[in-house]
Symmetry: C2
Subunit: 423 residues, 2 copies
């Protein structure tokens, strides 16, 4: 038997009962003969409460101290979890990110992992212990200060440890049964996906699927660590994310993995840009210089009469103000008539390997939307994804229409996802 890394989120260890339930699950894994490393997040709302406290003493908490504060949450959860496991008669030791050898850069609040040296974890495992590791935290290589990894940090900790320890699998326990063909809150007939490739998962993550963050999937793909996303409340098999599908099915069967949607973005249109080399470059340089990440970019064919074109792009709503200001400042170097800002948009994406080799997909996607009376404002595609921007208030009907059109609904026999009856 090999080594398994399990990660439990805050909702799984929200209270003493949750911690005891998780402890049982961990012990069960240990009993199967595996070496078990557990990465845990802070209990329930602990982190939010600490952030609130920080806000009460300082309007702009400093990076270093903010990290020192937040990391206390995981520390509490991991110590309690280790106690609960010992109470079940098994040996467990908890480790801070620093003790676990999670080495990061010095960018507080959103540090990147630059090395993992899990010597103490190895020793603890070899001595028969279950190792409990604080997620979301590390220690800076340079100053030896406590750092935090930012959003999705605990998932990334788990995958990074799985890679460093050469684990069989990284199990991400959460409060849903796995990754679905669409957001179940929007599409009642959405199904759990049994297996999905790293590439499709990356596209779903960057298209609005919240279950796994892009960063953690990217890390897992780089080191080829299979991820098993599953519920900590049920014993069901969840969704496997890996290079190879589980079981005997072959990748060719998979055309469509799922439909994702995202209402967190806004659209900016730069109107009346001279259609000559370098203009677009200047615009996006101005955006990039302000550390603003943009998503879709579309440039219309310019009107021959005017020689002017419009350039549209989407970006997180939170960055909208900053982007508009940055563009206004470029008026000196970039000619354009006006700026349009629109935050009432939604992005709907269809994701699936082999899409490009199935000509029908794109057409079917647009037909489904038009049949649903949904107007398309922007289009962008990749090897395995088609995304469109629509009005925000049309997103639900649009997602349902596409989900149904591609046979993803759970009643449908044409379902292309793997054994979608896993629920």
């Amino acid at each position: 038997m090999g080594l398994v890394v399990q990660k439990y989120g805050g909702s799984s260890v929200a209270d003493a009962e949750g911690i005891k339930r998780v402890a049982k699950r961990i012990v069960d894994a240990k009993k199967t003969g595996h070496q078990v490393v557990v990465v845990v997040s802070a209990m329930g709302d602990t982190t939010d409460e600490l952030i609130d406290l920080a806000g009460q003493v300082s309007p702009i908490p400093s990076g270093r101290e903010f990290d020192m504060l937040l990391t206390a949450g995981e520390r509490i959860a991991m110590a309690l979890l280790a106690m609960a496991i010992k109470n079940l008669g098994h040996e467990a030791q908890s480790f801070t990110g620093s003790q676990a050898g999670v080495i990061t850069d010095s960018v507080h609040n959103k540090a990147r992992i630059i090395d993992v040296t899990p010597g103490r974890i190895r020793t603890a495992l070899d001595e028969g212990n279950i190792a409990i590791v604080a997620g979301f935290q590390g220690v800076s290589q340079e100053k030896k200060d406590i750092t935090t990894l930012g959003r999705g940090g605990s998932d990334t900790t788990a995958v990074a440890l799985a890679a460093a320890l050469n684990a069989e699998v990284c199990e991400i326990y959460t409060d849903v049964d796995g990754v679905f063909t669409a957001d179940p809150r929007v599409v009642k007939k959405a199904r759990k996906i049994d297996w999905i490739s790293f590439e499709d998962m990356l596209e779903l993550a960057s298209s609005g699927s919240k279950v796994l963050l892009h960063r953690c999937v990217e890390y897992a793909r780089r080191y080829n660590i299979p991820i098993h996303v599953r519920s900590s409340f049920s014993g069901l098999q969840g969704t496997w994310v890996s290079n190879q599908p589980q079981g005997d099915r072959t990748v060719e069967q998979a055309i469509i993995s799922g439909v994702a949607h995202d209402t967190s973005e806004a659209k900016i249109t730069v109107v009346g840009v001279p259609d000559k080399p370098g203009e677009a470059a200047k615009i996006f340089r101005a955006i990039a210089d302000n550390q603003i990440n943009i998503d879709m970019v579309v440039q219309n064919v310019s009107a021959a009469s005017t020689g002017l074109t419009d350039i549209s792009f989407t970006l997180p709503k939170a960055e909208g103000r900053k982007a508009i200001d940055a563009l206004e400042k470029t008026r000196s170097v970039v000619e354009f008539d006006s700026l349009r800002y629109d935050d009432q948009i939604a992005k709907i994406s269809l994701v699936g390997a082999g899409m490009k080799t199935n000509p029908g997909v794109t057409a079917g996607f647009f037909e489904a939307l038009s049949d649903a009376g949904v107007n398309i404002e922007l289009i962008s595609t990749s090897e395995i994804r088609i995304s469109v921007v629509t009005r925000a208030d049309e997103v639900d009907q649009a997602v349902r229409a596409v989900h149904s059109a591609f046979g993803l609904d759970s009643e449908s026999d044409e379902a292309v996802v793997y054994g979608g009856t896993g629920r």
Copy 2:
């Protein structure tokens, strides 16, 4: 200007307001030109809440994990305090016990400090920072595990850092104005003591005074670090504990420092012990072998007729059961008629340097008690202390009588304590 170590207890940083108030006080000290190192305890009831959580997941929390859990409390407090200070425009950095170089043995939950290597603190100070250090915690030299120092740990951390950094003074901030001539809750006329010697303070601490723990005073005496016990709520001067009195007064003036009482002990009497060499030794060996600390010991003169004697001693009530069991087990090797256990006792102690050279003191002490109609059950004395055991329900009147008899009452002109009008 030199270096000052300040320690703030949990009641001083119970909430955001308290943290901000403490931050101002720290900044004021920094403004006077001092280098400032602050040792902080966990906020208000944090530690109790964590202990309660631990109890919910495990009846017998393990030492290592219990320490990992509890130390999160100081971590939260110190990070918030550092943020609050930065918010006042001053530089501050927080350090865990491990980062501060507090090296301990491996005895979890009550570790002893074996070395202090404050290299990072020095650097932070030299760079103009105020250093905030987590009290109560360290790291074990052997296994590099997080440890806690047990009761009074934060005070000990402060004194240990003051010694290692060669500080001018260790200021212990608390919720009272200082050390009093008696417990103000019992004696309304009790007065704040302006200065007291290490020796007298040690006797008061071991006689029931709660303001400073014996351990911390002992450490301060060994390294000759002056302690200034004061309120974090008022700006008043508190009580100085040192080798030399502050100001121009001389030690000779001091006869009586104060009256302490303790109702946490019980009395065990071993009745009918053969009055021959070695019997007492066997009894106390049995007690010692069970790691039970005893306090007063008294052996009556044996009755010539029987050749039997009674041996009485006091010990913490919590240890009573264990002691009785241990003694019962010795019946095979030690002859005695019976055991008497009594937990309705109180200990009253009169503490003051030069007592032995003032013959009237002992007599005056007993006279005061008899005038108050208080019966004495046991007596023990040291160079600078007289202690008696009485009935628990007589303790208040006994303390008041003694306090008044030795001119400690605040109205009295004969007051012997230093400038008792300091309040």
